[in-house]
Symmetry: C2
Subunit: 427 residues, 2 copies
Amino acid sequence: MTQIELAKKNKSSELIKWIAENEGLPLNNILAHLRQGSAVILKNRVHKIKRPCAIGKGLRVKVNANIGTSTKKTKLSEELEKLKVAIKFGADTVMDLSVGGDLKKIRRQILKNSDIPVGTVPIYEAAVNAQNKKGSFLKMTEAEILDVFQEQAKDGVDFFTVHAGITQKGLDLLKKNKRILDIVSRGGAILANWMIYHRKENPLFKYFDYILDIAYKYDIVLSLGDSLRPGSILDATDKIQLFELKILGDLTTRARKRNVQVMVEGPGHVPLSQIAKNVSLEKKICHNAPFYVLGPLVTDVASGYDHISSAIGGAVAAYFGADFLCYVTPSEHLRHPSIEDVREGVIASRIAAHSADIAKGLKSAIKWDREISFARKKRDWKKQINLSIDPVKAKLLRGLFKRKPIDVCTMCGNYCSIKLIEECLRV
Amino acid sequence: MTQIELAKKNKSSELIKWIAENEGLPLNNILAHLRQGSAVILKNRVHKIKRPCAIGKGLRVKVNANIGTSTKKTKLSEELEKLKVAIKFGADTVMDLSVGGDLKKIRRQILKNSDIPVGTVPIYEAAVNAQNKKGSFLKMTEAEILDVFQEQAKDGVDFFTVHAGITQKGLDLLKKNKRILDIVSRGGAILANWMIYHRKENPLFKYFDYILDIAYKYDIVLSLGDSLRPGSILDATDKIQLFELKILGDLTTRARKRNVQVMVEGPGHVPLSQIAKNVSLEKKICHNAPFYVLGPLVTDVASGYDHISSAIGGAVAAYFGADFLCYVTPSEHLRHPSIEDVREGVIASRIAAHSADIAKGLKSAIKWDREISFARKKRDWKKQINLSIDPVKAKLLRGLFKRKPIDVCTMCGNYCSIKLIEECLRV
């Protein structure tokens, strides 16, 4: 039985108990959300991981780090190092988005070396296989696509992005309506090309039931991809985006009926003023399925600093109810991310997620801030550094300018307000 | 006459006309806001600068960069380099917060080399002078404090932070009510110490009229400092903070009556859920005076990345009506900022300010995003880089992995969604 199926029968599992304990919530609370589909647990039955994770209502907001090769950057060792860095700096999940090199080997190595859930986008491998074997990704067959899902499931992938929401009708709408950037989803663009070339319906939509069978068997969470998400803040929340969202809502219902756990992916590029609306639309149209957002970026001009643009959007989205933040690195829109980019992306998203947890009143989140604030009051630098979101960087910055031990920092020096006020209030 | 005085008489000036043109707004609009005090123009009569700036309702959100020496870091050359970097990367104003070295010389050099408005906190110099000459900052006299205001005004400082809102009553409240970090404002801590030591009222409060005389003479904008701002998200929006805010509201009225332009400073450390409230309280209690916020930081745990925590808070604050963002650098809470920190702080705050401008519908802001999005669609890399918020970094990141000219980036390589979709929609 899948976790949602157990919950529907009001049965628990070791996994559900572990999640409840880990989140500091009553078991019944977790069961209720799993049952309703407002929470999911990422863990393939056959994947051995130490830290599976739950995503959804009332839970700590989670952070995903995308790693994986590009056609231009194919080193496995670098991607494994990114995995290590993502885990070290606190990512809750990773996605292997590889499209270059030996995809099977890379995926299996990532699955083996990860103690957190791993997601993939199977359509990438189907496309790359066809490109390698037949000279064009357009030549992948429906059967070949489904075989990739089957194989990746067996390998232990914990969640799949499934771009099942882009249909022929969606493409018609795209052609009829003006937007600046038509499709900025890689999976969406691959499928759109295939659909136009073959004049056929999206195979992920057509064979959605088959994908549900696989997901059910391994208890894989389906993450319904938003192929038609906006790629510019000027395209945000347009007809095309919302048309696809309705299809994702229908697919959510179908998955739940079949006892498959499901979450929904969201934009992308969204002005601050439209973020709350985007979250509430997803919750309404997709029946409270956990919302997994990419950013959102609140401006298109921040190339080189898109992790910051994304942290702004992610914090606001999570505050309004988004459950899962996909990081964006400083290199977004410019290049394949470096190892350092992964670290910066993870930390920026964690700041966003944590600030939303605080704002929503999550006790464990507030406790963390209380502890570091008391350490700050006492000028206990060791504790302040250990409690920082990235102790390695905090220690480095503090250390650089510290020639001898001082109980203040070099910012205010002798005029440290905390020290001054402590002394005078003591009088 | 000061700019507010002119506006009250419905008269314009070359400066007001320049501001209207620069903001792309009708002159009457600017005049109305200056008259009501909901906008101010930062420019000391005697300070020659190319780019004075207006702050307030309907205007582009502005960004300030704090520079200046510490008692532990006193190099003038480094601070002048920070000034250059702050201007290069787009700060609208700088504040010289020096407390180490030859303060007069540093200030005069910064004023001379800046083509944007310069602010200071005169109480710092008064304290440092007393410390140097008498062995304790507590020994500064009221007359000496006021002399510093006089001298800095004559030197051409465009705006002063005046911590006039912390009074004996405020200190009583601070002693009676629990908060984690009592005072985190350097100026506030200096004054509180002085007030407790001398058992006297805050001289900036007591002699506020005298300070108004100086400000009027040079048309200096007073920025009413919030000495009792929270230093932890757990202290946010407490009684103590709001008590001081009411005093700042009264001082705002007094300043306007005397035709002195005024803005109000705000926190600090504020959870996402309390930012909108903080902005609306300031607007209400301080009669729509422009709101100048420090951050706000949305969590206390982001040492090393406080520019990101601050960008999240700043974007949300500006979206809800804050007018002026003081940057926070990655080194906040850890050390005196480096030159690179200044750059990162400025860019992070500019992203926050710009994202709020977009969300509020500012046409010039949206135009920028439209242009870069079209460049992205065309894969016009030169234009994309030039239109990035920091073209130097964007160029560096793009260049690092580009061995030969390619029209995609190394992120998706051959599977660039923009290129793929362009090709198939063309068919």
